[in-house]
Each structure stands twice: as C-alpha cells, then as structure tokens.
Amino acid sequence: MSAKNPSLGDRFWDFASYSFIFFLIASIVGPYSIVVFSSFKSRQEIFGSLNLIPTAPTLEPWMAAFDALGGPLLNSLMIATGTAALSLLITIPGAYVFGRKEFPGKEYAFYAIISALLFPHLILVVPIGAWWLEYGLYNTIPGLWIAYQAFVTPMAIWVLRDFFEGLPDNIEEAARVYGCSQFEAFLRVVLPLSAPAIAAVGFLSFLSGWNDFLFANLLTNNTGPQTATVALFNTVNSGEQILWSRMMAAVIIVGVPPLVLYLISRRYLGNAFSVS
C-alpha cells in the first residue's frame, strides 16, 4: 500500500509518532500539573474539593514546606557538593588516562571500571555501614561523601572519558612542542578545554548525591545530618495524617534542583553510551 500511495503511509507513521509523543507528554505533564496545582491549595481545599485548579490559591503550603525542609536542604546541598567535588578529584585524572593514554594494563583497568558501572552498588551499603559505625564515619557528612562514590564515580568516569577521547588527537604533543611538560599540557591545555564537560559531570554527580535516599538513610540516624529525601520519606511514613498540599510543595522544592542541573548539562552527557 505504501508503494502505491507513499504519502498516505508516511502520514500514518507521522500521526502515530506524534500521538506517541503526545501520550508520553500527557503522562508526565498530567501528574505534575496535579502536583503544582495541589501545592497552592489550602487545607480545606486539598481534603474537601475535587477541583484541579485551586479556587483560593495560597502560599501557606510553600512557606510551611520551606520551614520544615530548611535544615535538610542545607544538608543535602553540602552532601551533594562534597560528593561531586570528591568524585571529580578521582574522575578527572582517571578519565583522562582512559580517554587519551595507552599503557600496559589498560584493558584490565577498563573492565574494572565497567564492572563497577554495572555493580549492584546498593549491596555495598551493608559493609560500608558496618565500617562507618566502627570508624566514626556513621552520621557524618564526610562519611556520605565517601560512600556515595560507590555509585557516582563509575558513571562520572564513563561520561568524562568519552569527552576526553573526543578531543583532537595531538593537542598534548602541540603543547609539548611549546615546552610544556606532560603535567602542564594536562593542566593548561586539556583541562581548560574540558571545563564545560567537567562542570556537566560535576552536576551529574551532584544530582546523584542529592537524589539518593538509601545510603543517606542507612548511614545516618535521626541524630545525624538528615537529607531532604530522608525528610520527605519520614514525613510520609510518620503514620500521621499527611498534609498533601504541603507535601506537594516539598516535592517540587526537592525535585527541581536536580532537574535544572540535568537540563543544563544535558548536551554534554548524552553521547557517552552511544554505540554504533
């Protein structure tokens, strides 16, 4: 049929793909518009009415959510920032070596990274938790910085390696010709060229740290640094009645920073897994 009337077949597939995109967008925008509208509802309206759009919008849920989340948000910020910084310290030199150097043993090192990338890192929380209790890192922010490397660093190396590999072949040699040492070539030529990609990978590590709940909950208790995700979990599972308008405001407050960071860094991250 498509041979007889190709435009009809094309039109059918165009229609199908637009419908599918519409379906996906609706499946995301729908729930999130409920979230946004609900976050402006008063206590009476969130429990008593079926309107999607609040008739008397109020900022009270937002104020209350910020009040309740202030400390946890600060904790999350510090934990995620430190996680990203530590991860970059490990990742930048490692990814550089993988992307641009040939050396004996590279193949093995590479498989080690891949298996870390696909390692079910969740299970490491048990031995790390026991160690942290022993060595006083339990309930501390540096304890979380280190523990988060378990799942942050393999991904960061993978993405950054891909970027380093894509840089022009001879930039280091060119730098050496101008009298730079190996180290200077790395520091003064490769690093500045890679600044946007490094920032993107830093954002990615930041959001992995920010988004985590499991490690944060198992490596701290209620006397330690509580992250925003743990605070959300505890509020929902406290057994008390949940004030959903406040909860929806909290959900937006905790959810938007990683979304924004990801969208900013998106174009540097997309191709690390592309294979032909």
């Binding site: 070596v97 969740l122 048990v126 988004n211 709940f213 925003a228 929902v236 909860m247 969208l263 998106r266």
Partner: protein, 313 residues
Amino acid sequence: MFARIQKGLSTNLGHRYERVIAVLKEHWFTYLLFLPTLLYLVFIVWAPFIRGIWMSLHIWPAFGVPEWDGIQNYTYLLGWDPFFTSVRATAIYMTMTILQLILALGASLAARNLSRFDNIVDGIFLIPYTMPPVVTGTVWLYILHPNSGPLMGWLLDSGILSEPIFWRTDGTLSISVLTLVGAWTFWQLGYLIFAASISGIPDEHYETARVYGASRIQQFLKVTMPHLKGAFIIVVSLRIVRNLIKVSQPLQMTQGGPGFDTSVLGILLYRFTLNQRAYGLAFAVGFIMFLLAIGATFLFIREFRRGQMEASA
C-alpha cells in the same frame, strides 16, 4: 644443577623486575593519574564487597561481636517463605524493564521526526527521571491515594468507581502499581542512549532505502534496527542492574508491604539492615542480588568489546 636453576630464576626475575621498572619509567605519569581511580576501586568497591561476603558468613550485629555462622544465613533465606515472596515481587517488578524498553524505543524513534519543539519535548521527557525517586514515589502515592488522592476522587465522582480501590492493602495490585510507576520514571535512560545512537545514523542510509522503495517498516527493520543493536544490549544490561537495586521509590509508596508482597530484594536487604540490624543476613541477600546482576555485566562487556573491535577495524 640446583644453583643453575636458581641463577636462571634470579636472572629471569631480574629481567622481569627491569621490565617493570622500564614500564613504570615510561608511563609513571599515566599510572599516577590512574592511582586515585585504583584506590577508589579497591577501597570503595572491592574491599567492602569482599568484607560483605565475609560478613554474610556470620551473625553480624550492628554493635557487638560477630559470630561465625557458616552458610546458615543462606540456608535460612532459602527456607524462609517471605524470601520467596520477595523473589516473586522482584520477578514481577523486573518486568518493568520490558515496558521501559518499549517506551524508550518508541520515544526515541518518534522524537527523531520532530523538527520543532524537540528541546521542549526532550526536557519534559526527562522530568521524572532526573528527580529523586522518593519524590516521584510521593507524587504517585498522592495521586493514587485511595482516600485523599485526586484520581480516586474523580473516578468516584464520575461514577466509574463505586468505591475507592485500596491498592496498598492488596499485594498483587501494589506490586503492579509499583512496576508501572517504575516504568514511567526510569524509561528515559534508554531514550537517551537510543536517541544518541539514532542521531548517528547517516541520512543517506535512509535515502538509499527509500530510493529502493523501502517502506517505513522496512527502513526501520533494515536500517534502524541493525544500527541500534549495540545500544539495545547496553540499555538492557544497564536497566536490569538498575531495576534490580531499586529501593527508595517502591519503599516510599508501600514500605514493602502488605507483608512482604512488595519487598523486592533491595527492600528485603533494607529491612534486614535497618529494622533488625542483621548485617550478615542483609549481605546474604546482597550477594544473591550480585549473582543475579553478573549476567547483565557480562552482556555489557561482551557488547562493549564488540563495539570497540568494530571501531578499531
């Protein structure tokens, strides 16, 4: 004769030593840069993992002296009914891998035709994926809440339902809801990888196919699919591991209940760790998860090697 062997051995060792020195001299800078990664792998991944296996052979409390227990933790699990409830929940939950693949493939193929708004569409697609799973879990917990959620309210109001569905007290319904929400949240990883791979297909391939009269379906089967094979294997292996270790989103929505009906293996590990402080038992579950994940790792490595060989050929 003994002396000769000894001499030969020592010169052999000597050569080897010299060779190592030569390699180190030539590549010292490279190895220095690799050192932090190596330390990371040894101390944050391998050492805890090996220690975890050791722990799983003990009764290991959070405080106090661990007690050797042999393989009792494992035999206990294999004789404990809730463990099999958990395995069943995991098996059902893992079917979201298939849903994620379908959504990811469909989205990347459909988005390829977009000439406008592609950035906005892309951004909207990524909203659930980039937010903390606890957040997306909370969103759906509210929307689907039997008493105070808007969806049940509208369905009751319009007469479609005569009474709310209390899905959180029904094991089969709960795990189904978790699976669908998990598919909704995490299909974007596949979309990102497929989209990057599709954008690498030269337009000429499609033009050639069209010249020879290939229909859209034939173009898909003969041009797109072969090109996506590698990406497909990478996505499948990554998703299998990541789906296997999901805890926070299902935990936020059902707390692993009713009973153990939605306690996937990750949640079982969580419950042993946090509620019972039984670290040995918790890692026994973890080790079983590791064994389940290994297959996916080999799949990934094999595919990666194949891709590399083709790239260098």
